[in-house]
Symmetry: D2
Subunit: 339 residues, 4 copies
């Protein structure tokens, strides 16, 4: 985890903003020239209040973050914003954020106009993986594949220093690789997608069934059979307390993630696979171990020793950090040019 | 549904008791010589209070049922009791009722001693299918297969007038036919069993995920994401209210039941497939139609027109009615011999 | 294997004919009153020469068999004939024998008219399983399930002393249980049927691929890559010679048969599973062991110790023997009545 | 297909050699400065005669090609060689060519020493896809994915102008993506790999079974049941002649390729998918259409219109052409420097 540091002489130097626009929370981080996090500011997203109000909150949050950190706008060299949902990466438009109910938000243009510096909009998982590639668990890897199981399962890949992307949108949708033909219905409408089988949500639903049947007494006790309650922490706690069926469910899901990782290894030959998100944080050894072991069993022998599987290191900062680093690397222009 | 009738002259004639011992409720029904239900009596099972107390409740319930119906014990010709769990069918022992926490209950012997008439213990689903075969939707069929989706998926088969059974226990465990290799963990410890994919509980868990993702707004509204709340009625209501994802989930499950039914058709060539239980009662057209259509697509052409798929007709009476009919047919001896 | 014995005084006693009508060969066997095979007679079937000529060959073969055995027609008490293909079991009609190109052959009536004794037409696999049940590996079992992998995979089941059957045709089509959803196309037009995955023919095709790729050098040497050459004997020989890939292929197929057997166990609770046919005969230990182990892993714990898996004992005699035994048991009337 | 052209004034200009080292045949092509094929020369590979003799044949073939084309060695600016099997791409070493029986062949060094110009060793499928990307069906695409079904199923991907590769070896092993969990054994030892299900070899094996069962009479007539005979041309001919089962088999395989392509689309978002190899050439419409339709059904809606699926255009030239183009683009140094 990047640490805050006293800035000393660098107090006049350039800074970057990384912004994580989530379904329920948003967070801005100011990074100094050494890419230490100077200050974090969190707010609720309140997507349902509409685009205009939401964009205003974003701009406000950034302004306040700079103000609280005592940084003049002139020192701001770029803003990187990570968001879910279909994007126009070149134009920096959030095309459709179903978790917010927003459409066609020209984020990049708005940010650049407001703050007078380059801005970039990235897919949040891509940004997170880029963060891990630059500063975290995948530092210095040649090809880093990130897999983040949550409500869905996000993926991202940094190959040769750049995020692999589609023409206008992001790709690396590992959550929609089919792992069980004719398997469970996915939220996307397809069947047997990885995330329909192995997301945190799918795990919670399987665990809820075990609780209902009386096979996960501890989980039933602490979280009942409601998916709102059976979250990563509750799953981890119930496993620690001896709910072996819940452990089997998690291992089974991890095994399927391993199958999809094996497919990605066959295609892309990543040398580093980074696993992140709340579920992984709640039980890193169990999940990283099981995914690694499953993936190794399902790749060609010549690939078996070509990759490591590691837990992410940057936690909640990863998206903001990666987005800011990306804008620094690929979009930021010299301040001089702006003047 | 069998109707109560005035008994007229038959008031002196023979009667039978059918008993449905469920995980939460028990029910006794007195049947007259025409096999009309004279009187039903329901009680909570309270399995957790122990075997002794539970058996006492059963005996009491039967006694009270007879008393309330104004029937002398001498007219009782047989008692048939349906119960879940591993049984010794010949000795009439409930070997292990995990939903009650009971083991090795010599039910048949106890009933026969107490009431001085023949008794039989049957698997509850077998009894229900036998009931449908004798009095309900599978009347006069040559080979009736019953499938009852609920927390699990029970099955039973009446072939040539008799329930197909194992050496000492029941069989026709259609819920544990594998429909998805390497599929979801079943409560039994195996993977990809039909009931792990298509039971009411599995459907509820899939629907809970849809509700959590915001894809089943009506269900979320009326039942949240808790499996305790998402029961058959709520599923039916949400489908009626327009939650199309829930309908897809139910259809998908029914399709898998159709696959297992097709396997059973290939093995046993039933001419009548009876579907029962709360889920089927809540949406008979949708489920019966989908199972029938799926099964027909997955059988050899020569089997496609050899069976009908129908909803059960006896509702909650089926187990008691089938158990009583079974004891009349195969265990009851003339009262004269008893004297 | 039933042995020929000298008939001694029994030379005047009653005899039965069992007839095995195969796609390429037919065989008649005369059984004495102790059900020893007195004489076997084989001929080519020559189905392509047409029904009339084919039926004539059958009648001739039976007549000659009796004549060669020195048995007068008056001593013949019944004829049982086993045949593949859709049958009318009650009327004894071969409805459609695709391997012969015959349709609607009233076999039972023809045999009864010609020989003046009861006749029965059975499905050949059913007859074979009945043979094993009466005289072979499944002697005295309560419920015997037979599985015979060959070009397809045939099944039969004797339950409570009788062959389980459909209304007019045979059933127990274990070869068409789906084991791989969306799996390989079966000859029947469905996908993922057991016989598309695990028949002798499917094994040969997989082995042919291994041979083609150079991974089964011995098989390539003795049989090339032609399915006409890669038969059970060649498979066994190549495994013995060290073609480990061929062994893996056979084990893999046997594992799938085990899955289908597990489904049948869940439905029918057989206590004896008999495996027969050329493939099993060529490598009984490997196949019986693998099927048994796979089936045991895939059944509910309460079923794991309820069945044995054994190789058939009657070899090529099983169908004729079972058919003859069936007619003796269920169709033969006292000769006196005929006179 | 690139055409030979008269070279006119360019007769003094620079040339490149592309070399396709196959399991049974090798081919050298001289390309002029406009990348027209000036001359092709084919020879048998004779891998079994050993590395030394094999390398000598390669050098000879190149020399003769130049000589026959009347080109002095000084005009040769680079040699690109495509080969199967694990390679060291940086060092240009063929680590293991199982189809030739060769190991650790320092091809790049040998070629550079012999001809005094830069050389590169590429995976043959990668080279072919690069060829299509530069000169063929994937011209000017942003991300070109190539899939070549044959004995196995090869894949390659040109992303942003470069071949996606592993650290030292090639990747994009689409043939080893798992499409059927617990599916057929692959030549690589894994189960359910795409190439075990849908390669030309797998198709031939399925068709051989249909021929054996009498369901593909035309195929049986022209090719029997031997995998050596059932090649792409025979498959196409039998389909044209009305063997509908063979068509179903090919469509089924193509459908599975579509599933794997969908996985690759989810990860890499290619805009152009090029299908090549003998099978595709023999029935381009059927296969391209079926793969395209299957892939579109199995991708997220947002990806459905982002790619085209097209047949390759360069035929047998693709590997040599791509390898030569690659060396020109990335390895060739100015001749001046050589002098």
């Amino acid at each position: 985890m990047a640490k805050n540091t006293t800035m000393g002489d660098s107090s006049k130097s350039e800074v970057w903003i990384g912004f994580d626009l989530g379904g329920t929370k948003m967070m801005a981080i100011v990074f100094d020239s050494a890419f230490n996090a100077v200050l974090r500011k969190r707010r609720k997203t309140k997507g349902h209040e509409g685009v205009q109000s939401g964009v205003a909150r974003i701009l406000e949050t950034i302004s306040e973050t700079l103000a609280e950190a005592g940084i003049e706008r002139g020192r701001l060299r770029g803003i990187g914003l990570g968001s879910a949902g279909p994007l126009d990466l070149d134009e920096g438009i959030i095309l459709d954020a179903p978790n917010l109910g927003w459409k066609d938000v020209k984020m990049k243009a708005t940010l650049e106009k407001e703050f007078g510096c380059p801005a970039a909009v990235l897919n949040d998982v891509d940004a997170g993986v880029y963060g891990e590639y630059r500063f975290g668990a995948a530092r210095s890897s040649r090809c880093a594949l990130g897999v983040f199981p949550g409500t869905g399962i996000g993926g991202g890949c940094v190959y040769d220093g750049k995020i692999i992307r589609g023409k206008t949108n992001s790709c690396m949708e590992i959550g929609h690789i089919q792992v069980i033909p004719d398997g469970p219905l996915c939220g996307c409408g397809l069947r047997g997608c990885l995330e329909a089988v192995a997301s945190r949500l799918a795990i919670s639903a399987a665990a809820a069934q075990a609780a209902y049947r009386g096979q996960a007494p501890h989980l039933l006790d602490i979280a009942g059979t409601s998916l709102d309650e059976i979250r990563s922490g509750a799953l981890a706690e119930s496993i620690d307390a001896g709910d072996t069926v819940v452990e089997s469910i998690v291992r089974n899901a991890a095994r399927h993630i391993g199958t999809a990782v094996a497919s990605a290894v066959h295609l892309l030959a990543p040398d580093c696979i980074v696993l992140g998100g709340g579920l992984v944080e709640a039980m890193p050894d169990l999940i990283v171990g099981e995914i690694a072991s499953s993936a190794r069993k399902k790749v060609l022998p010549s690939f078996a020793d070509t990759f490591t599987v590691v837990p992410a290191e940057l936690g909640d900062d990863s998206t903001a950090m990666g987005a800011a680093a990306w804008v620094r690397e690929f979009s930021a222009e010299p301040i001089a040019e702006k003047v």
